[in-house]
């Protein structure tokens, strides 16, 4: 086999607004739980047929870091990742790749990725994810506030020797 572990960055993509929207939905799906995604699907009430292009499966991604945080990349350990790929009746193809081993959740995420590309459902998907977005933001804010309470405030002691 030819060596192929190139560390080159992905090719520069044209700024496609749909790519950014899909990435935002994918990020929410990755951070949410199965219950969250089921609630989103319930809210959408999508009843079209969904075809599995690839049965959901769990595998590994080798996670990379950078030496010194900003130097050359190195491999520092693997993570479990589950992926799925579906196609809607209307033709849109949806993908999911997310940490963990939840195959049901990955399949729902793939359906949502396909739906966000659909002209009729796209905006609805984003609206239906508002509760999840709000919950995650609230949790993050609580974590940040708790962390902030452990920030050290130094006091400078002035002694009177220079009088």
């Amino acid at each position: 086999m030819a060596p192929s572990q190139s560390a080159s960055p992905p090719p520069e993509l044209p700024r496609d607004p749909m790519v950014a929207r899909r990435q935002a939905v994918m990020a929410l799906c990755a951070d949410g739980t199965l219950d969250d995604l089921e609630a989103v699907m319930d809210a959408l009430a999508y009843e079209g047929a969904v075809e599995d292009l690839r049965r959901p499966e769990t595998g590994l991604v080798m996670v990379r870091g950078r030496m010194g945080g900003d130097g050359n990349p190195f491999n520092f350990g693997e993570a479990t990742v589950t992926r799925a790929a579906v196609r809607l009746q209307s033709g849109e193809t949806g993908f999911a790749y997310q940490l963990g081993r939840d195959v049901k959740k990955a399949r729902l995420a793939a359906i949502l990725d396909a739906l966000v590309q659909n002209p009729r459902y796209g905006r609805e998907v984003e609206r239906a994810m508002d509760p999840l977005r709000t919950r995650l933001a609230g949790e993050r804010s609580t974590r940040e506030r708790r962390t902030a309470a452990t920030r050290v405030n130094f006091f400078t002691m002035v002694r009177g020797e220079d009088q």
Binding site: M1, A2, S4, Q5, L53, R54, R55, R87, T93
Partner: protein
Amino acid sequence: MTALAHGFGDPVTDAQQVFHAAMNALARPGRPQPLTSGLEPPRPMTPELAAIALALADHEAPIWLDPALAAASGAADFLRFHTGAAVVADPGRAAFALIADPGMPLPVEQFALGTAEFPDRSTTLVIAVEDLSDTNGWVLRGPGIADRQSLLAAPWPHALADIVRLNSAVFPRGLDVLLAAPGRIVGLPRSTRFVEEI
């Protein structure tokens, strides 16, 4: 990617069967091995080329396509989706080269030929042909062949003479070849020699 063709129906078993056929083909050079492929890849990719690619290529094994496949709509997307492999333009980066048109010459010296230390880091060429038989053909000798093995491919791949010449010059570096006809494949590892008689 509007009409992506399906991959293996049963990914594990199907890939194992293809792997088994490819392994036997390379272990018994020139002797046709049965290979059933239920795939319907975008033309002109043949079902056998697709089956070998889906069984053997992955994200660490990039694929090079011959001009006929590179020009075909959907062929690269089909391979990217089902294998995760990159489709590369530089033959030297390819772990596998898929050749749908055996009548064209190939840039044989530009493929990865391996290194003296790692001769296995070379490109494996998978060439589609219309028919393969082991009666009345070129006589092959070499490891994996008890005495002699006869091979006839139709059409005879244009690049094969160049590949054989190259292999004898750079051994143990070199190129391994799989010929894929409907329902059968033949392996021609770099150690196989062609004897000048019919």
